[in-house]
Symmetry: D5
Subunit: 154 residues, 10 copies
């Protein structure tokens, strides 16, 4: 893979403004350099925030995304900007988590993908959301995401 | 999903009194926005308390509930009020944990559900109760609940 | 210390009902068997719950109480019943934590006492309350209470 | 389940002496309130101690017992007294751990049972003993016991 | 303290919009119920986010605020809304952390206050900012904030 | 220090029976090989058990003993047998912890000694007892005992 | 199993010298008291040390051995002496770990055995070695060894 | 295995310069002393660093490599030098991690190999890469790599 | 503070090459926005690497820098580049750690500064280096750096 | 400091045999490059082993040594060989720990030194030994050694 692989990228290494909404964000991709094998890529995004569509209050989550590429990898800076675009966007926990996964599937057409959304507690009770696009590819090595369970106090 | 989805809800965003008993609590539901896929929703409720039916003394538990929705999601504020309704209700550990799961199944008719009840020690020996409604749906991603084992002291 | 030391106790070793309110609870005491020295007694009470006086919703806390006895020790079962008596009592976090300490001081007249109240989060932000009755006695060994800080998720 | 369920119990809610030997201990049972489902009950007993039959020195263990009930649950106070009856009884680590499991099986005839015995180190080398009565029931949810491995120092 | 203590509050128990900017936020106060003693109140706010004034990118922090009240306590919902008001506001790490403390001092005139700002890493290097308004009151019990140090990976 | 230093010891390297009571136990000592300096010796004894004098039920504790020797060190096997002698002895938590310290002071006449008793929970509330014989010697290095606080569940 | 079971043992309860070499060490066995079932015995040996055959420098490891007995259990004091016999013996990490397992298989003819060797780092890179004698017996309960991964610093 | 096994090694026990580039590094091998069995060798390398090919900035990773040998083991000092050779070499996260695994496969022709690359965060989002050469050999004991998930702050 | 504060900065927001040597690196500063108070700034740099001047092998460290500003803050991107400049520079552990602190003192003239260097183990024994420029300013809040001690394995 | 500083060293960068006894070990020193300041050097040695002079059995310890240099630093390879020389040497826990500190003081004449010896348990009770040569230099930054307390099991 040479540097020219990245010549079409519009965001990497550039000063980029945060997109106003997920619809405005552009998920960019680069070719998968190891298409001959099934390997797992994991992104851990502890800085996710969105808006509750009913109350207008901010929500926060720790997100972990695992995928196996087909032809394309998602470029990580564009992923960061996409996730940042939820900052002023209304979205429920269950809906939002699964929707991010579907958007990434649209952009990359991966062999397989899953997302874990670990939301900060509301009313004393946090919600976690877990989804995968199907059974993982055979022979894939897929470690646990290892996010600690919520413990309250003490 | 628009906000009108929530127009029938009686408790969300309202000042609500704690129901006097589990029978009085109303579990409200909203449509599942991603019925096309099997995803897991996890609630962690570290603030559960009930009454021992023999001694009248309070009991405490850390509960974790996992489910896969069919048509309905349980609305989280109504869940919180339902769990709070055990506050002055007599219930044994094994019985109570499984009964909560059955009540949620009645309300949501989920594809699958499980509950872990991690009770505070009595007589130096805590009891944990684990139940699932059946084998998990194939291809479901189902992380461990990750609640630490009880360690006594030292 | 002989068993007769305990003959006046009304709650220890008896089936006891939970007092309806802190005012009804009786804190019983026993003679301090080691009045000649300053030693620290620590109670850890992870099962505390009260009611928010504004919303009527339950609140939860993990409480740790440290004291140095003068003439009296608090009998632990009566302490447990006293703490249990807040179950249906309205009390704010800051007020309630300090008030428990003052009540214990009234009952025992200890050389010194402190309380740490580690409350479960509300609105994403837990409150901790720490108070001691004065500077600790000179030469007292006073370990940290060691309750983990709140971490949210991730 | 009504309170009359417990009327035949001889130890619960009573002042009970520690049995002198495991043979003298009585394991009491109550009806399983959820016979229609396979759920797991876990007891964690960090206060187990017995005597080495060769040297007469005390041994200590942290025990965790998991089972799936058939008709009966073991009543937890009688379990506590049974475990306490090993206090002055000679028993080797491997033998004792498995024997406790077999006794519980005799008393409850459970669908399935396992025991983990985590013994304190002797000669710098702790012994753990793990046994289950057979493959766990299909569809049972069976979390790891999660007892930390021994680490020596550092 | 009666409920009338809270009658002048404009935000507690109301649906409240997030203020557009820290200047618009109103920090409300209530009378300190225990003015006769020095006790510590700790708020842990793991959901803080602001905007980098140079790049426009979001920043995240875990904030812990400790204070000893004089006449007033800060009302916790108004604190939550004040912290939320930084969501679209540009502020540097060092400046912002200390400025929040100064604003709270203006609103409450506490006997003493400190803030710990634990910022998420940028360029692989997180910044923490620690400030207190002066030496803590004599005899105050002031536990460590106990936020884990940043560890990178491995 | 030569091996002859140990010739008077009656328990080390011998098969020894557990004393029936603390009064029967013999605490043996050896000369302090480094009398010219103040150094700390710490014993950690996680295998302590005694009997509740009121109920006859077993109690358990994790004990940590720190001391600075004068002329004598306590021989560790005799310490083990002394602690083991509480196995069938009735003793309350506060009394017993301080009494062990006093007995060690009688036997060794150390420059300084402290004990931390971390008792397993009864009624959901563990008791810790901390005592030292006086302010530690100046210039002594005295690390925290570092025993984790009790956390209940979750 | 009676005490006579142990009459043929030459090392248990005796003062024993450390064997000079693994070849000189004698692994003693006792009858398996529960031959009717498959249970797991785990030894954790955090005090293993050997010599690098090339450089003569000491190596250190934390070893964990799991096995399912057939007719025989290994006597734990003889195991301790066998492991201690590597103290002045040259052996490479990979070779030594597997060789210990093979020797134990020779001595006990167990139904199944595995060993985990967690070696201290050399050149910044620790080596772990994991081996099992075959697939574990069906229906065996086999917990993870749970030794933490190496983390370097930070 | 005698010391002559190592006579052909050019780097072990020698002062060796860091290779300028992965292509210059020589992976040396030694015969597998236990070819008759499938055992796992794990290297943990927390000191990996390379250069971002686009920005020229350093990247850091914690690498864990697991393999089952066929005829050859990789000599650990040559592995260390090979990994060190990435110090001034440009390589992307996904590409680099998989490429190291492929190079090791070329050098050793192992029965099976996998690599976990745990990269330090860039833009707040770390990337992990996981690959294995195929399904693990049947009957192989393959523990989890146990590297903690990234947690940000708090 | 306005953005013009940063107009003289040459590295922030620019693509910057890693300096070839610490002498070439430029530490840039910005005005301290809160000169009226003593607050602490902490940088955690887990990605430090240098070269051993004797063997030419890479060394790694986790560095934590604490300071109290006078007129100037160090700009964090220039700090990152300065630390990165040790990548191909020879420096011993003790010397290098203290030298970094002295260089920062030259650049900022802070009221006070300290550095903790936590180096990865060599020969099984890691070295930590701790230095501060003098006693910390009175009334400064100075939390522990909280880097875990090295534990080897197990 | 130039490389010539190290020209007189006899062990660094050489193949060195382990000394047969502490008396034979040579502690080498190098000039302190930062004599103008008081900084702390910490060595963590988790691989210490010696022989019990009474029983001939091996003992193990995790040692942490802190010092402030005057004219000399101890060279770390010679320290490693010195510590390794206890491998076949008889020494009691309390005596040995303090003796190592005294030997280092003889060799370096440091401004100040302390040692923490964390010994593996014997008879279920580990011994820790802590000594410092005097009160630490004023203004020295001296972090806790942070070795976890012993916990037994569970
Ligand atoms: Ca390819
Ligand atoms: Ca809790
Ligand atoms: Ca859908
Ligand atoms: Ca007394
Ligand atoms: Ca977080
Ligand atoms: Ca039923
Ligand atoms: Ca032991
Ligand atoms: Ca008052
Ligand atoms: Ca001396
Ligand atoms: Ca690291
Ligand atoms: Ca072979
Ligand atoms: Ca970053
Ligand atoms: Ca200012
Ligand atoms: Ca260890
Ligand atoms: Ca100098
Ligand atoms: Ca324990």
């Amino acid at each position: 893979m040479t540097n020219s692989t990245y010549e079409t990228l519009g965001q990497l290494g550039q000063a980029s403004e945060l997109p106003q909404d997920p619809d405005e964000a552009v998920l960019e991709t680069v070719p998968n350099p190891h298409r001959d094998v099934d390997y797992l890529v994991r992104f851990t995004a502890p800085e996710f925030t969105s808006i509750c569509p009913v109350t207008g209050q901010p929500d926060f989550a720790h997100l972990v995304i695992d995928y196996v590429a087909e032809e394309l990898l998602v470029e990580s800076k564009s992923l960061k900007l996409y996730l940042g675009s939820f900052r002023n966007h209304g979205a429920f926990h269950e809906d939002c988590t699964v929707a991010i996964a579907k958007r990434l599937i649209d952009a990359m057409k991966p062999r397989w993908l899953r997302i874990g959304g670990y939301w900060y507690p509301r009313g004393g009770i946090p919600i976690d959301v877990f989804w995968q696009s199907g059974p993982p590819p055979k022979g894939l090595w897929l470690p646990d995401q290892g996010v600690p369970s919520y413990r309250g106090r003490g």
